[in-house]
Amino acid sequence: EDKVVQSPLSLVVHEGDTVTLNCSYEVTNFRSLLWYKQEKKAPTFLFMLTSSGIEKKSGRLSSILDKKELFSILNITATQTGDSAIYLCAVHSGGSNYKLTFGKGTLLTVNP
């Protein structure tokens, strides 16, 4: 059974702090790992990673994948209150159906 584990489950920081969110996985036929941000409604896509060691970056957010150790991290620098959200990690396993297996998410709260 495919498994995705995120840590920590929740995190409270102050504006300006840097945070690191973790995602480890055990899946068969790995295709890609995705990060989503979920505020009030729909999860919105942040990054997709398929290759080890290549950092994806968007503004203050960045992510990297380690396929040997089966984990990914999501970094957020200079956090803002608008970064408060649930961050979801998901892994695409192979086959003909391309299912996503989600972790339980990390609830990030950024206080002013």
């Binding site: 729909a42 997709m48 299912k99 989600f102």
Partner: protein, 114 residues
């Protein structure tokens, strides 16, 4: 540019009632998915479809049925609602283009079963 649209946004049902949740996408995506999201459980896959006329079971399919009669629509049915089905339901769709493609989500349907 609507993307993935779910209706209704909220619904309250009594135990034993039936209802259908509608998901519509305007991106011509082949793959569509239904998830439920419960506190502390993350997103769990109920059913999915890899094309018009096809459906398959996900991780938690019991108590639900689905249909994909048209490519753009994916319906989720509850034949006899139970309190354990109180949840937020999300629909997603995905392209089959070259390489990996992310799933795009609707805004969710909050369902309460009394």
């Amino acid at each position: 540019n609507a993307g993935v649209t779910q209706t209704p946004k909220f619904r309250v049902l009594k135990t034993g009632q039936s209802m259908t949740l509608l998901c519509a996408q305007d991106m011509n995506h082949e793959y569509m998915y239904w998830y439920r999201q419960d506190p502390g459980m993350g997103l769990r896959l109920i059913h999915y479809s890899v094309g018009e006329g096809t459906t398959a079971k996900g991780e938690v399919p019991d108590g639900y049925n689905v249909s994909r009669l048209k490519k753009q629509n994916f319906l989720l049915g509850l034949e006899s609602a139970a309190p354990s089905q109180t949840s937020v339901y999300f629909c997603a769709s995905r392209d089959t283009g070259a390489g990996n493609q992310p799933q795009h989500f609707g805004d969710g349907t909050r369902l309460s079963i009394l």
